[in-house]
Amino acid sequence: MKIAVLVKQVPGSETALPILGNHSWIDEQQVSFVMNPPDNFAIEEALLIKERTGDGEVVIVSMGPARAQKVIREGLAKGADRGIHLEEEGQIQTDPLSIAKSFTSILKDENFDLVLTGLQSDDTGMGQTGVLIGEMLGMSTGTLAMETDVQDNTIRVKRELESGWFQWVRLPLPASISIQSGLNTPRYPSLRGIMGAKKKEIKVVSPSDHQTGSISQSIEKVFVPQASKQTEVIEGDADAAVMRIVEILKSDIKVL
């Protein structure tokens, strides 16, 4: 079983997000980056599948500037076998189709049985790269996996639907699967894993060797959301708050 896990380095949830002067994106110089949290679940699932099936290879693949090698190394420290870094220069790509084409150009010769991705990235949140790549590589696709079960040349996936519904789907391999957060408990790298990761291979692909040049979608500007509502703030002691709430329920919303 040869498994690719696509990961991304994104701003951490606690970091400040200063907007660039031209509003084109945030000022990454002032941002601290982490592994995209949903990707941890995809890495864990890949390692579990490898352990269950008894053999194979887990390859961490990431696109990004030089800093992205940190998250590839993190995956290697957890037990993945090698990494591929699709290098980017300047501002990060935000066009899912061209990102998927870059990945596809590199992944197609590797002949992976499985491509795993997290649910979505916490930065641009496009939530489609894994499925785009699956289609481009002629793979079957499944999303929001809550459980996986690899058998012979198929993978059974328990998909999360809405409103508490689930569905089992059996897909022929090769397949591209997006993993729902929370389905497993991602492991921490051991000290031995961290030491060992330093010796593992990361293949670096320069921008000219993966970029297609056709960009059809972009983020023009980012801005701080304006509150869309007039909010009445009720502070102070509990008795006064209770009186005001009763009044609101009676006179404003009229539910009493």
Binding site: T124, G127, G164, P225, T231, I234, A238, V242
Partner: protein, 312 residues
């Protein structure tokens, strides 16, 4: 055709987000048609017979009688190729995430997902909803998906429309996935989506023993009880009470939120509520940004007193 709205079948009737997508398309303007796929396609078309659309295109084929990503993406691709809409519009549901990128890749049409507004360009949330981004495309056609409650289904303009059958050309080799019947792990008899009043519990309730005060408040108000994912994951209430992207989408007259911080995954499921009254200890809780009434205080202190006041 300017806009093609792709409809979603929610066990025999239109998914609420499909109605919101129609309302959004109508707001964008131009000639709008809709596409219904599957064994319930005619029922969905019938449901829209009083809505201001050019027509509902229906596709019923054995290979897409129920949803599967292989078949749906192929059908949608064929309809787009045949009808050449400039914009393809759909609700940003789990099903959309599952198959719409396939359409985008097949036709090389950019897919801008999870849009919250079309007022000032195409706006989506980025960086965990801390910032908004306006997006653009240079392509001639585009696919847009609207976040839950970006538009209101009540704004769907009435009128009339016809329906037409589209003959899709599907090969059994197209559908590679074998899909089993959908199931619920814990079915409940509570219909949150139909509830007029909801009392909703978040992590701020602190302990399982405290859940009772939410049920007592709900009883005093004649409301149903719902909850955020962490409360459900802790096993304090049943999964069918969960509101949010992985639970129910609700839009009651009153959403009374008790100790819910307001993570984006929760907010997308309830921000369409007519009135949001939130109690939270943390004055910076994100829930207050969308609340009509923000009560800064301790749920465990305020709610028992409120129940007492309601009984008097």
């Amino acid at each position: 055709m300017d806009i093609l709205v792709i409809l979603e079948d929610n066990r025999g009737s239109l998914h609420r987000m499909s109605k919101e997508a129609i309302a959004g398309a109508q707001k964008m303007g131009g000639s709008i048609s809709a596409l219904a796929i599957g064994s319930n396609a005619d029922a969905l078309a019938e449901e829209l017979s009083g809505v201001d659309l050019v027509e509902v295109i229906t596709v019923s084929h054995d290979l897409v009688s129920s949803y599967n990503a292989d078949g749906y993406s192929e059908v949608v691709k064929q309809v787009i190729e045949s009808e050449s809409p400039q914009t393809i519009v759909i609700g940003h549901s789990y099903q959309t995430r599952d198959f719409m990128p396939r359409v985008s890749a097949k036709l090389d049409i950019p897919f801008i997902p999870d849009i919250i507004s079309m007022d000032d360009g195409i706006v989506k949330q980025v960086l965990n909803a801390k910032l908004n981004a306006s997006c653009s495309t240079s392509a001639e056609q585009m696919i847009l998906s609207f976040q839950s409650a970006a538009f209101s289904d009540e704004d769907m303009a009435s009128g009339s429309c016809t329906s037409r059958t589209f003959d899709s050309n599907l090969d059994s080799a197209t559908v590679r996935a074998e899909s089993e019947e959908p199931f619920q792990e814990a079915a409940g008899d509570v219909d949150l989506e139909a509830a007029e009043l909801l009392v909703s519990i978040g992590r701020g309730i602190e302990k399982e023993e405290n859940i009772q005060i939410a049920f007592d408040l709900a009883k005093a108000l004649g409301a149903e009880v719902s909850a955020s994912r962490p409360v459900v994951d802790s096993g304090w209430v049943e999964p069918f009470r969960q509101v949010g992207s992985s639970g129910q989408n609700v839009s009651p007259k009153l959403y009374f939120s008790l100790g819910i911080s307001g993570a984006i995954q929760h907010v997308v499921g309830m921000k369409g509520s007519k009135n949001i009254l939130a109690i939270n200890k943390d004055p910076d809780a994100p829930i207050f940004e969308i609340a009509d009434y923000a009560v800064v205080g301790d749920v465990l202190e305020i709610v028992p007193k409120l129940i007492e006041a309601l009984h008097n």
